[in-house]
Symmetry: C2
Subunit: 314 residues, 2 copies
Amino acid sequence: VTESAFIESLKDLATHPAARGLADDAAVLEIGGRCLVLTHDMLVEGVHYLPDDPPGDVAWKLLAVNLSDLAAKGARPVGALLGYTLSGDTGWDSAFVDGLNTALGAFQIELLGGDTVSAPPGAARTLSLTAIGEAPGPAPSRSGARPGNHLWVTGTIGDAGAGLRALRGEIPSDDALVESYRLPRTRIEIGPDLARLVSAMMDVSDGLLIDASRLAAASRVSVEIDLATLPLSTALLSSLGDSLDTRLAAATAGDDYELLFTAPADRSLDLLALGARFGIPINRIGEVLSGSGLRLHEAGKPVPLPARLGWEHR
Amino acid sequence: VTESAFIESLKDLATHPAARGLADDAAVLEIGGRCLVLTHDMLVEGVHYLPDDPPGDVAWKLLAVNLSDLAAKGARPVGALLGYTLSGDTGWDSAFVDGLNTALGAFQIELLGGDTVSAPPGAARTLSLTAIGEAPGPAPSRSGARPGNHLWVTGTIGDAGAGLRALRGEIPSDDALVESYRLPRTRIEIGPDLARLVSAMMDVSDGLLIDASRLAAASRVSVEIDLATLPLSTALLSSLGDSLDTRLAAATAGDDYELLFTAPADRSLDLLALGARFGIPINRIGEVLSGSGLRLHEAGKPVPLPARLGWEHR
């Protein structure tokens, strides 16, 4: 509650239109007739990644979580500024740089600058990154969903969360699920084309349900999700089996970095064609209705909202 | 040494011209015919500020250290992205937001976005900020100094370092010096006009001598500083007395956030007129020569370089 109060107090300061009331994934700044998208996400050891995750994977994740925000605004990557806390562990630092090099190449983004600081011994590593992108077309917000729109999501949901559970020893380990947790894909390649078709878009980072409820709140609409249509991977299904519990766990786990978006019903074929062109699964998982809040059902049978919809503040 | 190796390995990744080889205060990105300047600096509790510094002052300093980099590139502030680590101390958080509000207004910069994360209990606070500016004219680098140029600095040097010593109880306390440490001024107002007159410019953050030696290295020239011409405040002189030790301490203390720049000799009158127009002292403190490295003298008498020129990595 006090964390929410803190963020609310920051919103009072962010009055510029480019800030989008701090209610969006990124800032959108018009300059010289171009549309710049700016986002800044941090990773804290033990909070956003596990202390024994490979350093190169942490570098990848640091870029990916920021690029996912650019994707949600339909932006192509331009450059990144890195904030790095030296740990005193030179092996870790050097493996991080190797992974960063790989990730910069994979995501085709340039390292433009940043800051390297010392931290007190034993402090949890805190890594930050600012990603700058440019949107060639419209930069969708979270607030454009309209009653009658359909709700869609890219890829599959819940793999990263299951990977985290596997790393914690709560479920049997599975390479594909662990990789989903440590090396999120991001949908940066399809973002700009999707942006032309959607009415609202955001990335799924804190959990499908909490993120969908934020989209509903920003758009002042109600969102209804059919859990039966939730796209689940075969890796997830063979690890956890298919049940309502599995589907609710997947929908609240977070770290998916898939795109969640709404679009008018007459865009459905265009959306499916776009997904096919990029080889990215796109699935319709619900509806936008008038009213407010989030409702769940499973193939028509109402499902009560779980107590926890996802991560509140990380 | 290993920290330097880390930064060298990052430089290998930063091949885009906008990165300026990570050898500058900021990235300079041309977009849509406009010149964007981007910088990202972090503050770590116990490293860059004292744990009992007032939270509002920490917010001010977080903005100021970044805006000082914009000033050095002749850029005007556009917006900022804040990376904030929640501490669990709501009083601290709330005082930080109040100070941030004051500083945003004073520096006329907009809060555009960012990230708020939780940190493990007891972790040192790590705060990050990305500042985006726009240079209306040229964005000077560190590498443009030429033999025959004069070396100049704005304001006075060493006040913040003496303020830190006062807060640590090493010298008697003095309100003006403490304020210089906690609430650095930055030279954001004069930066764009200075940028039209200088051949190279940077801000003094790690210590006048170490920063001057970096400017010399980036420009492949030698810099000679006359310590007798170092501008010192009356507060500093009455606290520490005037001596070579005082002048060397001031020149290696850091946290000044003044602008250090070089210019052809025939620009001297223009520079002095500009300083007078803005009410900002501008003093000539040395010469640019061919060769390499840094040399010191005091009114013609050679002074050996101190063992420590300033902060290496913070």
